[in-house]
Symmetry: C2
Subunit: 347 residues, 2 copies
């Protein structure tokens, strides 16, 4: 069952950004004069985040709940329903003013059909018609999109990708994913799985054939879980005074503080990510990469990846920026989608 | 100076395809009822090929000349002029019926500006305003595009990529290049160098920083020159009865005939290409790859690459087809561009 987090657990940065709002955001179609509100959602394996916004995309309030252990899509829909009710009540707004909702889901998503095709083993969704479930429960038009893609939308509209025709948003958290913005639009691929870069092969990754459900070659070195596993694998009492159980960002912190083993793990991850970025930059002639996700946002990881990238090839020098939206990117992108949905979709 | 090839040296398959014409080709804009003709050109480091076509894209005749040793863009323009005059005369057509020309150039090309930004050392072009040069000399609207991209256009219009929204054309000849068709359109990248995949890094390629002018990491293993160099590098009298000097397709032929060293070189090249295709398929969720170029068309190379690709990952299984247009793809794509140019561009 869901464990409700106290308000204080809602990330501080969120409320800061609340007051700033979606500054300068070029939100779509729906006009400022329209009365109404939308809700954007970010469905994660550990938490569900909601944000209530006006028709200009300005965030009025946020809500968050743990999703640990939850697999049933109907329970997620119930939680979204509950969160939306609370957000409207708390802000003394009539729930009838909800115009649309949109959700970022942690898996391959058919946006046209509104179906989450597959998520990782954590949630285990297969062909979940999440848009219909939301519309049935909430009575308003809904949209669903891959969560890394919703973040890429936000970066494109109000983040560092704003106004850049082609760029790639890289989410490095537990795993690794990319959102591709090409010709100013999301490129999702014919099977909606473009950007699933956890499986890329670069020098230093395993070339073993991939079994379904296993982490990909790149992900095993660059993703949070992979970095943790690498650390465990290399850890010896003789090599470090640090504990065997550390998470990726702790390992990176220790690298900065001078631990040689942690530095080795950091370098391997940064080098592998730099190779992947280089490859994407070569293939797509892409000038900008935006790093997000809890691991991707780590300054040391970002700095070292940039440094390795800069040394590779004078002709291929994409900019590598950190997201300025941080953990809010997904929900911001979902708000944008919800506004678009309000303007274009009728039930 | 140019060495004119005899008619018999014009590849036999060309005349075969002449009679078939651009079968079922969905050529653009320009209407069948329009009187006039266009010329498509393929500018290569060893030859310049021209084709004369009617406004339905049907090829009436072809012309070819050696470009060995030619570096001056003005000489290439002169050769094109001469070839066009000959094609019109030979077919008893008034040269005033030429409506447009288009050329595929062996380098990074700014299509909007009509400028060839850079070619390989063979021709050494830098920022050549080739469209203007052609228009000044020929007096008709012209277009210029990267040659691998013109081939991708042809595959998309009349080849095996016909009707496929997203696919990648892979040209493996002396070097390696790709033409990306995404959302049914060429994707050239913000600096017009998308698809320059000779520089990709995959397991087994060098990770040494790239010096300008040197072949890329992937190219060194997968391209014709790279394969030749590999063979030379590995060659020992004790290891093979074959000569030290062989070209890529000969090495592949010898692999088929059972030479162990040749088989080793073939496997390394096929494996490396398979990794690159896998990466592109993962990133873009791309379902189709079309192999072209003299090396890419070799059946043994194609078969082994397919086999290695099939073993990698059950979920990522793009089709790998050989081009059916062969060495005609570039010129066919140029004809398509010329027709588009005739319909849209005025001098």
């Amino acid at each position: 069952m869901a464990v409700y987090l106290s308000d204080s657990e809602v990330i501080a940065s969120m409320s800061q950004e609340n007051s700033a709002g979606a500054a300068g955001g070029s939100q779509p179609a729906a006009s400022a004069s329209q009365t109404g509100y939308v809700t954007g959602a970010d469905i994660g394996g550990t938490s569900l985040r909601l944000a209530l916004a006006d028709m200009d995309g300005r965030i009025l309030d946020k809500w968050k709940v743990s999703t640990a252990g939850i697999r049933d899509p109907l329970v997620v829909v119930d939680l979204m329903h509950e969160g939306i009710e609370q957000l409207f009540q708390k802000n003394s707004l009539s729930r009838s003013l909800l115009r649309a909702v949109a959700a970022g889901a942690p898996g391959v998503t058919d946006v046209d059909a509104g179906v989450v095709i597959a998520t990782s083993y954590l949630m285990g969704w297969r062909d979940v018609p999440f848009r219909s479930l939301l519309e049935d429960r909430l009575g308003v038009p809904a949209a669903v999109e891959n969560d890394v893609n919703t973040a890429a939308i936000a970066e494109s509209k109000i983040g560092v990708g704003r106004g850049v025709r082609d760029f790639v948003f890289l989410a490095v958290g537990t795993g690794v994913g990319a959102g591709l913005v090409l010709n100013g639009r999301l490129f999702q691929g014919m099977g909606w799985s473009a950007g699933e870069i956890g499986y890329l092969l670069v020098p230093g990754t395993s070339v073993e054939p991939v079994e379904t459900g296993e982490p990909g070659a790149l992900e095993s070195i660059v993703g949070g879980e992979g970095i943790k596993a690498q650390w465990k694998h290399l850890w010896r009492k003789e090599l470090t005074s640090l504990p065997e159980d550390l998470v990726a960002t702790q390992i990176f912190d220790c690298a900065v503080e001078g631990d040689a083993l942690a530095q080795m793990v950091l370098r391997k991850s940064a080098e592998t990510l730099a190779y992947a970025i280089y490859n994407i930059a070569v293939l797509l002639n892409c000038p900008l990469f935006v790093l997000g996700g809890s691991v991707g946002m780590h300054p040391a990881f970002w700095e070292l990846t940039k440094e390795i990238l800069a040394q590779r090839d004078k002709r291929v020098q994409p900019a590598l920026l950190r997201s300025t939206l941080g953990p809010d990117a997904q929900v911001q992108g979902a708000i944008h989608l919800a506004l678009e949905t309000a303007a274009t979709r009728r039930l």
